[in-house]
Symmetry: C3
């Protein structure tokens, strides 16, 4: 699959909670992390999403926030993946941050250059990648 999403995780569906128009899909990634996705019921049906199914989870780098200190604040964002900064690529306005998770997977985030400077992100910094369930796209073999 060739797609611009910087984050492509492999995993298995643990459960699907279906609402009136949207469904919450809980995943277990191959690296051991848990992920939550919010997709439409139509997608659940057309893709046959159900517990046990192998899927890929795609997350655009621009949907990912980088947190270095939660200061005791808990967030509504369902996906918070802790790791270590591997690389920082900074431009005049944007910066791309790559975080390596404990399980070995990498998460890419694009944030503003200002945010990157304020957080003092550099190789080896502890950092958590944060994104909402609604930012996740799921894919299954046709």
């Amino acid at each position: 699959m060739k797609i611009s999403a910087r984050n492509i995780f492999r995993g298995q569906i643990e459960s699907v909670k279906t609402g009136a128009v949207n469904s919450e899909v809980d995943l277990l990634l191959s690296g051991g992390e848990k992920l939550v996705a919010m997709v439409t019921n139509e997608s659940v049906q057309s893709l046959g999403l159900a517990a046990g199914k192998e899927v890929v989870a795609l997350v655009k780098a621009s949907s990912v926030l980088v947190m270095t200190d939660d200061s005791g604040i808990r967030l509504s964002a369902r996906n918070c993946l802790a790791g270590t900064v591997k690389t920082v690529t900074a431009g005049p306005v944007s910066a791309e941050i790559t975080i390596t998770l404990a399980g070995g997977a990498e998460v890419h985030a694009t944030i503003t250059h200002n945010a990157e400077t304020e957080l003092g992100l550099k190789e080896g910094s502890a950092a958590t990648a944060v994104f909402k369930a609604s930012a996740v796209i799921l894919g299954v073999p046709a």
Copy 2:
């Protein structure tokens, strides 16, 4: 209307599926493409969204992914618009891609420069613009 959204499509509502707090709105664009939007019920009521109504659909370029090969993977993203790359503008971190659809409309996506390089995007490349229903904002005349 003067707004920073790079993607402004004109279309007509085909159907509205209302849930407990969110509604799915299916559109037929003037170029013949179909589009799906997820908005709150409050917006459906306050904007009077209903089948037959003319609307504009706004999508921020940063919400759009670019796919050049699906490798037999089907995605939960409800909006997949196939076309041809018209222009690529690359910066040190980001790149803006313009895709011309069969119906003549253009879709703009901002992706990372790294993704643009890996996909080998250039003028004339076949490419599909992918975005979630939740990325779409609808507008109606006041």
Copy 3:
């Protein structure tokens, strides 16, 4: 809290409308503006979100659109905050815009450089920051 989100607003929950899997949370910000967030029911429960509770609302700059003229169009986006452009930082592809609201709070948006040029954004321009309820992350003290 150290996080890359450029927009961190303090406010109080006015009401929570719970659906099957998602909930709409209405906030009153300390500057007097209203904000709407869409989060999962799971987050409402785990964070104890309820009317009267003090929260922070986080919005990534890339989720924010900038509008300078609505031309009589009403949008489904639930958050439209009017103010004045304070700064414009432009790169080759992206631009970061800071808007000061009437109540004194600042909103940051990253848009394309092309959009910034077309809108003619500069210090002192009237501008409205627009973002969907689904773009908002809520946080509470642990």
